[in-house]
Symmetry: C2
Subunit: 372 residues, 2 copies
């Protein structure tokens, strides 16, 4: 592998600093790298049924070649695995494998596996180290970075979890080769998000390089590395999300409400919900006279070119209901003392946190959005 292709993003959290490596062949090199960083440890791999087929043999062959002891637990593919019962199963498998407090959990998979395995590592033996090996674009640019782990509740997404930082992130570009195009596009929504939040120059660069990113040229690695660097900035500024980190939720309050309404099913992938949510955040901001509506048009055009849905009506199946969406939003964990908090925007690259949004205003806006 040409070392030129390896990007490194350092996350200098005090006492818990770690590196995010982005490049080809990282799975093949994992064994030697882990052996060097974690001498004498054993490894517990958590993965899902799909990734076990496509990527697990690359990782276990590498661990075996380095003489590392490992065990694997496989969960079903899909968001439904972010459940209490699956967490229970993974933690008990870690204990049954007699992995000790000093051993390492490896999360091999997309966002679901990363969130579930990271949470299991946070609570097994009151906290074990873990390594993220994200195999989806979404996980590489978002969920594997920053230490948020967790599962879903019947009351909403990610309502149960822990802040638990990984010790290392290996984002292998080769893993993206087997990713279905729909999932690549969904991950791309989170890439574009970083431009929309506070970096118009990055968004412009994405507009210029979108084709190359989708086709797998060198711009892909650069796009991922810049996204990881952007997320790292927010994590360093506000690890526990008491302030600016909330900007990373641009599009997520609407998006989560849509995911809840569609039952976290294949009707709507997380990144697709975020894409529609980001458009809604721009439209809502424009409707309040905060942002120029031509920016909304530019966002829609870019996300459409990525193959992403941009309207609630783009979601297949039964029509959604504004009141249900509002109820889902009200149960969202970003609610503080009854007032609704939204990430609004003054235009591309100018997102901000608004803590006093009136529920009635949101209901009226959603009613209009559902007609579009």
């Amino acid at each position: 592998m040409p070392s030129a292709a390896l990007h490194t993003v350092h996350v200098p959290l005090e006492g818990r600093a770690y590196d995010i490596l982005i490049g080809p062949g990282l799975l093949e090199g994992a064994g030697e790298r882990l052996k060097a960083q974690f001498p004498g440890r054993r490894f517990g791999i958590v993965t899902d049924t799909e990734v076990a087929r496509a990527q697990l043999p690359r990782l276990t062959a590498s661990l075996d070649a380095a003489g590392l002891n490992h065990a694997t637990v496989t969960v079903p593919n899909g968001e439904a695995s972010k459940s209490f019962s699956r967490l229970n199963e993974v933690v008990e498998a870690i204990l049954a494998a007699r992995l000790e407090r000093g051993d390492i959990i490896i999360a091999l998979g997309g966002g679901v596996v990363g969130d579930l395995a990271g949470f299991a590592a946070a609570v097994a033996r009151r906290g074990m180290d873990f390594v993220q090996v994200p195999t989806s674009l979404l996980a590489q640019v978002d969920s594997s970075v920053g230490g948020k782990t967790g599962i879903n509740s019947p009351h909403g997404k990610n309502l149960i979890g822990a802040f638990h930082q990984p010790r290392l992130v290996l984002a292998d570009l080769d893993a993206l080769a087997t990713l279905p195009p729909r999932e690549f596009a969904a991950g791309y929504a989170e890439v574009a998000k970083y431009g929309l939040i506070d970096d118009e120059a990055y968004f412009f660069w994405l507009e210029e390089n979108q084709r190359e990113i989708f086709e797998g040229g060198p711009a892909r690695a650069e796009a991922i590395a810049r996204a990881c660097a952007a997320k790292t900035r927010f994590v360093l500024a506000d690890e526990k999300e008491t302030g600016v980190r909330a900007l990373l939720n641009l599009g997520h309050t609407f998006g989560h409400a849509l995911e809840t309404a569609t039952g976290y099913s294949s009707r709507l992938l997380h990144g697709e919900g975020v894409a529609i949510g980001m458009v809604l955040a721009h439209q809502f901001s424009a409707s309040k006279g905060l942002a120029p509506s031509q920016d909304t048009g530019r966002v829609i055009q870019h996300l459409k070119a990525a193959g992403l849905p941009t309207r609630i009506a783009d979601i297949a199946g039964d029509k959604l209901d504004a009141d249900e969406l509002l109820r889902n939003i009200a149960q969202d964990k970003k609610v503080v003392r009854g007032a609704l908090t939204f990430i609004l925007t003054r235009g591309i690259g100018k997102a901000f946190i608004e803590k006093n949004v009136a529920p009635d205003e949101v209901r009226a806006f959603l009613g209009e959005a559902l007609k579009a």
Copy 2:
């Protein structure tokens, strides 16, 4: 309430400092105190069926009088509530009550409730603040202090959990009035432990004041405050138990193995397991020529006078098996790289961590101990 009777132990953890208050009438004063420390918050009380009967009305009346909004979730009394399914139930109840990230969980009960509620607070909405209101002696002197929370696994006790510090601990002496004598004695084992670890003067003071402590005189509050101060010293030195905090496990490796073998049932309370375990730790140390055997005699005499069991044979029911106990010990979380770690002692007040105990030696010792 005479303020003279109030003891305060300050726990100056950086950024998360809190007070442990020990005195009478703290439940009656809880409403005003919580209102002052946590203005504008809502409260979620977690308690058990027994404590709900004996103590909950005192707390809710106080919260109501202070105009504080609160909800309660009650779990069955007993160690079996430290389970994954009960954790799930408590977390979902917190979410169903729409308690927000800034709201407060109150753990009202003994060690089981404190461990379970604290863990639920650690993971609900990725971490909520919580207040310990320990109502058993064991919880007041041990489990409510120091931030260890968690549940049990079929693989062993406390194998799943989090380090999550409370924001305040209210140890109400009046709550001990309704505590069954057997439970008071079990809690006393943890009081005596602090003397045995590194404070022979405290152990001597306990020998002198044991009767007054059991009868409820002023020495009781002092014994509890000194125990909390002792535990606080260890927590400050080593919050995550990577070093000296392990000394607090004196008697616990044997004790946990006995509890696992008796199914965490009423055959053996946790403190009773610790009492037998501390005697075994002294006997094992003496058998290795490390400690004078007259110290073992002094420990046995003191614990017997407290009404505690001191031999494995004192446990009612079927005879236990040395091999099973050893298997339980080997699954204990204090195992590091296959070697057994024990807290051994050179005599009263002279405990130390021994990381290289051979399993065969423990099996042989247990075989002898089972004949006693």
